[in-house]
Amino acid sequence: MMTGAGGDAREPSGAGEGGSAGEGWVVTGLGAALGAARTAPAEAAGGGEGGARAALVEGAGADPSPWLKVKKSRKFMGLQDELAVAAAGRALASAGLGGVALGERAGLYLAVGYIPFEASDIDPVLRGSLDDEGRFSMPRFSGDGVHRAHPLLTFRCLPNMPAYHVSVNFDVQGPYIVSYPGPGQLYLALDEAEAALRRGDIDVALVLGVTHQRNFLVEHHFARLEPPVEPQLLRDAAACLVIEPASRAAARGAAVRVFPDGHSVAYEPGDSLLPLIESFSGGAAEPPGEAGPASLPLRLWLEVHAPPAAPSSATGPRARVGHQLRSRDGIRAESAWVIP
């Protein structure tokens, strides 16, 4: 059994434990969305697996249109917003909650990656802001450059905007966490979702990781690390878990997609950024590259919806999987899961 982030000894989560406070929770829905433009399906599926995984990945595009209450709101959305809405929409459908206005008893526990800036957005601003010697000029910026920025640019890159778009399109009115920026923070968001369920604050939580990394600014960030991260290893991704108390899932006849078997989070603050170390003990194929805060739910989504191998037993759990990471910010996390 593993323990939560504070090191407290907790009973493992799982189905069948009664009561509203302290009972186990289960995953009843998983969804993902991938930025397809720069990620070939076969590559994203985890080289060599092909087949079901490739098809699954290919079907997990970033188009949020099916879930938008107001179609024209898409003009306000950056890729991270689109990914978040698509992943949440698929996860809710998977949980049998598609089309349901979630309301006050639903919470959103979001971890979002670094702020994205496309070169095509910022370069026109720069061109209008340079003096004759090619240096940044505040007078030119204020008189010309700033007016070349897309008027909706701010909306499209703010880190709390994925939370907005998910809340408005699925009517999430409950509590939230919006954390940032690495895969370790997803575990902290999961901790808070679990705690809110345990307190009885909410009936259902969306635990969502999203990151838009294939852009000028985030690629710049990863290129300066030691060792540098090549852009082609970065993924644009969102993945979402719908979690709820086991009793509620049973009461509404929802299928349990994944049972949690404990997780732990620890921390070792360093002076410099560390190399990311991440492993997943489930499927035969590892999705390549870095998916930032989407990493854990993305891997679980692949395991559930496109398993790499036949069930090990006709009656027992289909798979036991584990996830371990040490993120660059010093967070060490691990989790274990059972796929029925």
Partner: protein, 436 residues
């Protein structure tokens, strides 16, 4: 069993001074921290005023460095103001919490302790972008890792790592980016972690500085900021009929939160209790609040429910009070819906009238302000409220501070994007062993 969570130390770096007492004194005096922008030449930007932290950055960095730490912390602080603010506010809060001679956590120090911080956007340098795009640009092969990490874009989570490192906080940090609600959310999340025994103690707060070319220009593009450039001190005017947008501020505040029993055990001075926290989504408009103030009301109601109190128990409210046309009437409506007949008799003050909007730090600084006022038995004023908007017809304590005993104070933050957060603060005098 939920533990009672108390505040035993506060630190603040603000436009009214670089300590919590200076902040509170300035607020009580009704002094404005707003002036012309000096950190860069705003040239022809429509908004050319802001509430800057006046202390020179090297001085601030030197002060915070007295707590120890690496050269990395110092060099990154000199580059990114919000890192410097956060480190100094954290140092102050820990010093304040250690007045009795023992530090939070006792012999176990930072074991099981962590930081929860609301942070602003990553610092983006247009100067660096120009250098990067210049023909023949080559990265400096001799640049240190920190210099590389601060070139063009400085990740905002660095301040959590530097605070943790400097103060030996060994549990995972929470880095929150819920925009204008982030500071309040960070305190609320920390309160929950301590209350439920998931952390032993925490440093919680927020830090931000968007007074840079891209930050100010971004708000100008949204027509969100005041353009009352000729009268900086009169530009931030929450609830006034002639308000024309918010004034950008900068700064940080950090609070030490620990369980009441732990505070007693080490003889710490209790400054206040965090009695409750609530948050919600508007689930409505991207830049406008819900017309019936649904989300704001839900956040306040949840905070009260969490504290086990009713609206009739609240003695004062520190409002979000941004001085924008949309926020102030909606916030007024939320308070009326919450308090009912009592709405006009409960004072509602706006700290932002004096220090502007500190974005991700706002909620934390306003919590420190509320604690200072609560302990003094005085409400700071809402300045520049010359002609109240008829839609903002509550008691906003205009112009001059007022003696007012406060047992419970509600402090609220509402973010662009519909995230709402509220805290219930209880006066230390009502806490067993609290300060007299």
């Amino acid at each position: 069993m939920r533990k009672r969570v108390v505040v035993t130390g506060v630190g603040a770096v603000t436009p009214l001074g670089c300590s919590a007492p200076e902040l509170v004194d300035g607020l009580m005096a009704g002094r404005s921290g707003v002036g012309p922008i000096t950190l860069f030449d705003p040239a022809e930007l429509p908004t050319r005023i802001a509430a800057e932290v006046k202390l020179a950055l090297p001085e601030l960095v030197a002060r915070s460095a007295s707590a120890g730490g690496s050269s990395a912390a110092a060099s990154l602080s000199l580059r990114d103001r919000k890192i410097a603010f956060a480190l100094e506010a954290a140092r102050q809060a820990l010093d304040d919490a250690s007045r009795g001679g023992t530090r939070p956590g006792g012999e176990q120090g930072g074991l099981g302790a962590s930081v929860s911080v609301g942070v602003g956007l990553e610092l983006f340098s247009m100067d660096d972008l120009a250098r990067l795009r210049a023909p023949g640009f080559l990265p400096d092969p001799h640049a240190s890792p920190d210099e590389r990490l601060a070139f063009l874009q400085t990740p905002s989570d660095l301040c959590a790592r530097l605070i943790s490192r400097r103060h030996g906080l060994l549990a995972p940090p929470l880095v929150l980016v819920s925009a204008c609600a982030a500071g309040t959310d960070a305190i609320g999340a920390a309160y929950r972690l301590v209350a439920e025994g998931r952390r032993r103690w925490m440093l919680a707060g927020g830090t931000d500085s968007m007074i840079n070319p891209l930050g100010v220009a971004g708000f100008c593009r949204l027509s969100a900021t005041s353009t009352r450039n000729a009268e900086p001190a009169r530009a931030s005017r929450p609830f006034d009929r002639r308000r024309d947008g918010f004034v950008l501020g900068e700064g940080a505040a950090m609070l030490v939160l620990e369980a009441l029993e732990d505070a007693h055990a080490r003889g710490a001075v209790v400054l206040a209790e965090i009695a409750g926290y609530g948050c919600s989504f508007d689930a409505h408009g991207i830049s406008e609040p819900h017309p019936e103030a649904r989300g704001a009301l839900q956040a306040m109601e949840r905070a009260l429910r969490d504290a086990g109190v009713v609206p009739g128990d609240i003695d004062a409210i520190n409002a979000h009070g941004t001085s924008t046309p949309k926020n102030d009437p909606t916030e007024t409506l939320a308070i009326k819906r919450l308090l009912g007949d009592r709405a006009r008799s409960v004072p509602v003050v706006a700290t932002k009238s004096m220090i502007g909007h500190l974005i991700s730090a706002a909620g934390a600084v306003e919590a420190v302000a509320s604690i200072g006022c609560m302990n003094a038995g005085v409400l700071h004023p809402t300045i520049n409220l010359d002609e109240p908007d008829p839609l903002c017809d509550l008691d906003h304590v205009p112009h001059v501070a007022r003696a007012h005993e406060q047992g419970l104070v509600l402090t609220c933050s509402y973010a662009f994007g519909g995230q709402n957060a509220a805290l219930v603060l209880r006066n230390a005098r009502l806490v067993p062993g609290g300060q007299a």
